[in-house]
Each structure stands twice: as C-alpha cells, then as structure tokens.
Amino acid sequence: MPERVGVYICHCGSNIAGKIDIEKLAGFAEKLDNVALVRDYKFMCSDPGQNLIQSDLEAGLIDRVVVASCSPLMHENTFRKVCERSGVNPYLFTMTNIREQCSWVHIDEASSTEKAMDLLAASVRRAVYLEPLEKREVAINPRTLVIGGGIAGIQAALDLAEAGKEVVLVEREPSIGGHMAKFDKTFPTLDCAACILTPRMVQIGQHANIHLMSYAEVEEINGYVGNFNIKVRQKARYVDADLCNGCGMCWEKCPGTRVPRKGNVHEKLSLGPTSSIYMPFMQAIPAIPVIDRESCLYFQKGKCRICEQVCERNAINYDMEDSFEEFEVGNIIIATGFQPFDPSVIKRYGYGTLPNVLTSVEFEIMNCASGSTGGKILKADGTEPKSIGIVHCVGSRDKHYHEYCSRVCCMYALKFAHLIKEKTDAEVYNFYIDLRCFGKGYEEFYDRLLGEDVRFIRGKVGEISRWVAEEDEKDQLIVRVEDTLVGAVRRIPLDMVVLCTALEKQDGLDRVAKMCSVSVGKDGFIIEKHPKLGPVSTATDGVFIVGVAQSPKDIPDTVAQASAASSAVLSMITREKIEIEAATAEIIEEKCSGCRICNNLCPYLAINFDEEKKVSIINEALCKGCGTCVAACPSNAITAKHFNDKQIFAEIEGLLSAR
C-alpha cells in the first residue's frame, strides 16, 4: 500500500491565516500525490488540534504526518509526541514552517501562499520517504572516573564524593598533588601551598567514596556516555600498599640514588628523598614509597635488597608486576594538567649548558621549605646570589614553540621576585614583554612589587651567555636585552637566571584524548565544547575537562572549573537516564569501499576503520548526526537517518516542481 500522508494546516489564529490563503493551500495539498487527507485548524498545537492528528492516526487513515504551522524549533517535539501517543513512530512526522519563515516575513498574501504551497509540497514528498527510527535512552552509571590528581582532579573528586557519588581517581605519579604540591607560596595572596593542599589530599586518601589509584594509568576506554568501560594499569610499586606504613626506614637506608647526592646544589634539587626507594615529597598521598627501577641497585645489578631487610612490615616485594583493573563509569573528568616546556631547545638561553640558569619549576622546588635547599635560594656553588633575572615568556608567545600566552608566568614571576626580595638581598630583574595581571588582586600584587624595588625591564631577552666584556662581569651570566621603553640595548650581568617556561600540554594527553574521543586543538590542549558556554564539557557527552588540561590557567580558575565540572557530572547522574540522538549516520557495510575519505571528518571521532573487514564503521552512540561524513562519502555508503539523500532530493523536487 502506498504511503498515506495526512496534512494538517494551522491557522495560528490570524498569525498564519492572516497572510496565507488557507483554503487555497488546503486545496493545493489535496491534489498532491500520496496525500490521504487534509485538515486545517485554528491552533494545531492546542489539545483539540493534537487530537485531530491522534484520531486520524489511530483510525489508520494515515501513516505519516505533515503539520504546516510554525517552526520545528518551536513545536516539532509536540507533534512527535502526538505520534508516539498514537502508536506511530515519531520520525514519520515532518513539519512545514509557514509562520516564522513565511506568514511573518512576507507582506504580500499571494506570494506567501505560493511559498507555503512550495514548502508544503516539499514536506509531503519528504514525508513519503521518512523512515521510522528507534529512540534510544541509556542509563547513567553513577560512578565517575577522574584522570589526574592535581588540584583540578582533587577538587572535582572531592565535590562528587561529598555529594555521595563514587569516584575513581587515577594518578600517573606515585602521589597526587600535581604541580601545586611543588610550590611554597601561591600568588597573589602568598598562601602557603602545602597548607591549603595537604588537607585536601588527605581527604582524598581517606574518603569512603573515593577509590584512589596512584602510580596507575588508564589503558583503555570504551563505550559512551553513561556507560564507559575502563581498564587501568596499576604499575608495580614493589611495595605492598597494604603492609607499608610509611615509616621511612627503607629510604633512609637505601644506597641507590634516584637524584644525585653529590654534585652542585642545582643538580640535586629534590623535594622527597633522593634514594631509589622514595616518596616524591614528604606529604605524599598515598604515603607509600615506590622503587625507581632505573636506579635501584637490586634491579640494575642484582645486589642489595637492603630495603627488604630493614622493612619491619615485610612490605617490599621485588616480584610485583603491573596489574590491571577493569570497571565501569558513567562520566569521565580529564584533569591531566600540564608539563613545563623544556627550554634547552632555546640554545641562546643556555639552559642545560650554563650554570645558574634554572626553570621556574626548579626554582619553585628550591623555594619549598621541605626541599633539598630547605627553601633557600642558592647558586649552584651553594652561595647566595646577588642578582637574579627572571625571563618571561620562555617558549610562550613564540611561533617557534608555543604561540599562546601561558597565563600564569607573569604572576608567578612576580611571586618569585617577592620571594627573592624576602629571602635574599639580591637585585631582581623582571624581563617581560607585557605584564598580564588581570585577576582579582593581581594588579595590586604588581603594585606591591613595584614598591619592593624590583626592576622591570620591558624587553624579551636576546641571549644569555658567559661572554665577559668587562672585569665586573666576570663569572656572571650576561643577559643582553633591549630595554624597549628606554630604547637602549643593555648588558646585564647576573648571578642567576630563572626562565619562566611555558605550560605545555601534558605528555600523553593525545592518547587520553583519543581514548575519550575528544579532540585536541592546535596548541595541543583539549578542545572544550564551547569557549564561553561550555568551558568544561567536550564534544563527547559524558567527558569533561578541568584545569590546565583545557588550557593554561591558575589555581583559582582551575578550582572553579573543577567544581563546575563536578556539578555538570552530578546533573547527569541525577537524571539517571539520557536520550541519545536517533537521527545518526550509518555506514552500509556492503557499499563501503574502505576508501577512508570519511575517517578524518567526524568531529566526534565516531568513525573508525575496521582493519579486518576493511570498511569504516560509525559508533552510533558517538555520532550526533551532523551529516558531514554523509555528504563526503563518494560511494554514498553513509546514510543520514532522517536526512538521507532520498528525503532531501524529494524535498528539492517538491520545492521546485509544485506549481
């Protein structure tokens, strides 16, 4: 039996009827192929209007529905529900917009009516080709995976756990804490980093709802929103976490050297013990050491086993192997942070070849009261510097390295200047291009530093060398720079130089992104769903990003984002179920030649190539139905459900052949 289309024309009071000759339109519709009946009504969206459709459907007079009324953005859902109520697939309905895009915008009745006729003819033709689609709902698993245990991951995990939801926190390093755990003070308030971070870390370790997996990495992620299957590799610590009580006997006695014990001050910078069995820093969570295989005498040379002997709880286990854990979660929060840019590639700054040229993270460690210098700022030879230069934008704002501004270096450079002034008598020079101090209290902090007699030179350092031109420059680092405000090229001899290196994407972020089906931008950071309105969501439902994994930012912004993400996750969890797109795209295996044209096109990475069958496949749970791949497939092997070629061709023909 051919398709029987029911056409319903809405007057919308006089909104439509005032500009369109309804009678003429209905007469026209009646003559169209496949049209079984035509009705018009004052307000189609009202209950009686809806009932008209419902009774026709229930009576079996028609099997597809066209409503000519307002915009589908307004009432598509209303009429789809009518179909559903009448036991007809809601995708067998289509809407003709004769209000917003017709009666409301055209002055002349004749031409409005003509346009309405064309639009209606197109809808009717389209309706003939409509196909029923399955609506799908998925349940949301209330557990959440947080990847990365810096301040971002810690905050997000705590928020969720406090709300009573289970969290698995996976941290790659032996301890959580991230970069913040390496800082002494934080700008602009100069709070002690440990004082604010440590209590939170402890909470993570103890929270009943948080399953902390440190020294672990996510290996595989499959599935989709609400139902992700996760596989995590627990790397071998060689210390049994259940037995160890963190007494420290092992590292006190360990003869292995992870960080050299001899050498100059800068070579042996470290926060935790320098031995092979170590904790990264003293407040580590979990407070359990790990053995560094690379430097452990037993693993390298087969002899030692001292730690085993001294450990009273028999926690050392050299035979431990990596193990795997698999579990399910409903949502994922990526909080993998950043890594500092390695400035040794900028040869003219001499990092790695000139002594006393340090990176900012090294300088933080030196300032940390619990670190190897006890918080003292020292030159490599152990003496106190008389002058220190702080070079901004190293690897940032530079096309050779990273084009973006790293956003926090200006401020931590000011923090450094303050710490130096506080701890030493040294002269401090800040070499900057622009000072970006935009946060709450930031400009005030700059103002304070100006008062502390810190010297500011506007100019990016040309080079740092040890080439001495005058006697008083001997044994010093010579910074050559244009003081752009004065307009002079200056040579400044300094005892120490700190390079404010860029925050760059974490090593391995691409892999995490790929596993989660999210994309990374040109700068390597994960792309958020919308730069303003979706800064913590991603294009993939159920995957969120927080902290520097999204882009460089400071701690206040990181924490704000973390709380935002956890509330977004909570909103998902409380919904319990979500509906996923039914109008997706589908690849017909019999037609796909495996040309792989489509493989790169999907913004949601929904398209994969099946190496065995040599065809591409779409993961419909990821597909959002944009249709980009459909238009590209040269074999027409991909169909866009609800927007397939036949439907659109029919629409085109309808629009143009009606009268």
Binding site: Q101, D118, G627, T628, I652
Partner: protein, 162 residues
C-alpha cells in the same frame, strides 16, 4: 511581469535556520523568493543537492551555516566552505554564473542579517535573470532529435518532461 526568481536555501538547524526564525519572530519582512530546506549542519550539504536544485529549476541556491568557530558540530561549516569554494570554480564550466550559488554565515542572533542576505541574493539573481537549466539543456538538444522513418517512435521525448 517582473522576473521572480526561485531560490532554494540550505540552512543549518542551529544557526541559520534559527536566525531565519528570528527574522520571523521579529517580523522583519524580506523577499519571498527563497524556500528553505533545513539540514542539521552545513556540513551535510552535498554539492549534489545544489546541482540538483539548479537542474530542477532553482535560479539560485543559498547555503547558510554557523560562523566559523561557531559550528554546533565544531567544523562542519569549514567543510561546507571548502566544498562551496570548489563548486564555485566549476559552475562556469556548466555555463552557470558562479554568483548563483552563494554562501553566508548567519548566526542564530542574526535575524536582520538573514533578511538582508535573502534580499540581496534575490536582487542579485533578479539581475542575472532566469537560469532555466533543465529547459535550456533540452532546448539545446531539440534539433538533435530526429524522427527516423525506419524506427518510428523514439525515446528523445524526455525534453517534454521539462
């Protein structure tokens, strides 16, 4: 009677179709010549649709999508742009003025712009005159259809369909 062009528009659901709706809600009147087809994303627009529309009698085709960077599906509009650009290059080979196919970025907030775009496009096509693609193709084949005594009836009649 003045020539009233038939124009087909392919509008993306999120920005341009919404923008067009906004023109309606704000009662901004514009030329009635454009008939819109809604697709979810400008990335769905297969150039074949445009060729098909021209063949079926459209005098011009408008493509509208989200502004670069605003695409609801992230990058569909860039793909639309690239296809559009290549398509424009070949239109003259068909004897079709490239201006007959036009792409605009229209945001959901740009009702006014949508109206303006439609008015301008309508004017432009009015100036160009009718395209009549199907008819003219068959017209140029008219004299090719020879009736053969031996063969009696023949199949050249497709032109009638036009």
């Amino acid at each position: 009677m003045e020539f009233e062009p038939k124009l087909v528009g392919f509008l993306c659901n999120w920005c341009s179709y919404t923008g067009a709706d906004l023109a309606g809600t704000a009662r901004i009147s514009y030329a009635p010549n454009l008939r819109a087809i809604r697709v979810m994303c400008s990335g769905r627009i297969d150039p074949t649709f445009i060729i098909k529309a021209l063949y079926e009698g459209a005098d011009g085709v408008l493509i509208a999508g989200c502004h670069p960077g605003d695409c609801h599906y992230q990058e569909g509009n860039y793909k639309a742009l690239r296809r559009y650009k290549l398509l424009k290059r070949i239109l003259p080979e068909y004897g079709v003025e490239p201006e007959r196919v036009h792409l605009e970025w229209v945001a959901a907030s740009e009702g006014e712009k949508f109206a303006k775009v439609v008015n301008e496009f309508t004017d432009k096509i009015k100036k160009l005159g009718p395209l009549n693609m199907k008819q003219s193709i068959f017209d140029s084949m008219k004299e090719d259809i020879v009736v053969h005594e031996s063969a009696g009836e023949e199949k050249g009649g497709e032109a009638d369909e036009a």
